[in-house]
Symmetry: C2
Subunit: 211 residues, 2 copies
DNA sequence: TAGATTGTTAATCGATTAACAATC
DNA sequence: TAGATTGTTAATCGATTAACAATC
């Protein structure tokens, strides 16, 4: 049943499944099962079958799933059968790290421009990029059809940057700034907040441990 | 009721509440309400009250919450009333970025050593650190009582690094490698996987958008 | 006091799991 | 065929929300 609305939490697990299938393809595996995937990912086999069932029937009873086929189907479902252009806002330490990150391109995500509002940074080289001023943002988004934006500015500026990106038509934001953004419902946001994750884990550590 | 087990999903929201309360303290606010917090965070006020109720009673009927007091209570609950030492494994691009990240110290998280198994990297300066070999890992963890580890090695090495850290007594792992780790139940893991988040969002973008 | 907001209960909603017929 | 595994249904489990008495 491909037409019902799929719970967001299910969509969020698909990239994990895809990652594992990519790995199995690398290993030369032909066939897998919901049981094996679940064991390797720490998820129940029932959940994997149920998640996949939102999108169609990909397996064979008694046999399991063809690894490459299921991988290809998940890539299609996640719109990984095309390239995605992104703009990166913020050329500080964090922006540098993101601009240098090698892991995006292999998955079809491409940073097509790095922007900062600091005149001291504009024009400077940043890896294979040259930092551009915010006045060039709209032009690049439109020319390169960038549908995604990466926010790597201080929290105090993130709200404003997000509004700008949304105004220019960007519909997905990966936000590294430690601040909750509220956006129109057609704009998706995901957060990367290492400090919040560390705090989450610290809760479970016995007090007195650590330094 | 401070003694029942608190759902993990609730614990995961506390850092977000804490972040907002820190912000309100900065702004000089004295009092807030579940309504205001919810509006600002895109969460229902009922959820905020219910979440907090797992840990005690922090507000006053008719008035709301004292911002600084609630902030301090959340810091205590999350064990942020102490310092936490961490080791960083991996001195590649990603390790460099993490080692340079300024945001940890202000929250009481400290990287006390950077490690890599590549002899070409060992001994090299990395910001304020000097990259150490894996043979020094145990000594540093024990000497500095590091309870947390940050994994910034390639996926192929992450499993082995995690086992090593766990063997040396580390009980919380922040994993930047794109691989699911299975750990003993007393060891917590959190994941940072930008590609997975981008794929999650790409699902919602109309096909044909992007590059 | 009157108005506001908490903490909590009960109802609702949604996600996960167990179980199994279908079938490869 | 016998064994294995899917896709799906129903049951269970857990999380969120609505509502309100308590009370500041």
């Amino acid at each position: 049943m491909s037409r019902n609305i799929v719970p967001d939490i299910v969509v969020g697990r698909l990239p994990i499944y895809l990652r594992m299938l990519d790995f199995l393809v690398q290993e030369g595996r032909q066939i897998t099962s919901s049981q094996e995937l679940g064991d390797r990912l720490g998820i129940s086999s029932a959940q994997i079958r149920k998640d996949l069932s939102h999108f169609g029937e990909f397996g064979k009873q008694g046999t399991g799933y063809n690894v490459a086929y299921l991988r290809d189907q998940l890539k299609r479902i996640l719109h990984m059968n095309q390239e995605w252009n992104m703009v990166l806002i913020g050329a500080g330490d964090l922006g540098h790290a993101i601009a240098h990150y090698q892991g995006f391109a292999a998955h079809g995500f491409h940073i097509v421009g790095v922007f900062d509002n600091d005149p001291a940074k504009v024009g400077k080289a940043l890896g294979k990029y040259v930092v551009q001023g915010m006045e060039d943002l709209q032009g690049v988004i439109e020319a390169d059809k960038a549908a995604m934006g990466i926010i790597a500015v201080p929290a105090a500026a993130a709200r404003q940057v997000a509004d700008l990106l949304i105004g220019y038509g960007v519909r997905a934001l990966l936000n590294y700034a430690p601040i909750t953004l509220t956006t129109p419902h057609h704009v998706k946001v995901q957060y990367i907040d290492p400090v919040a994750l560390l705090q989450h884990m610290a809760y479970y550590l016995p007090n007195g441990a650590g330094a």
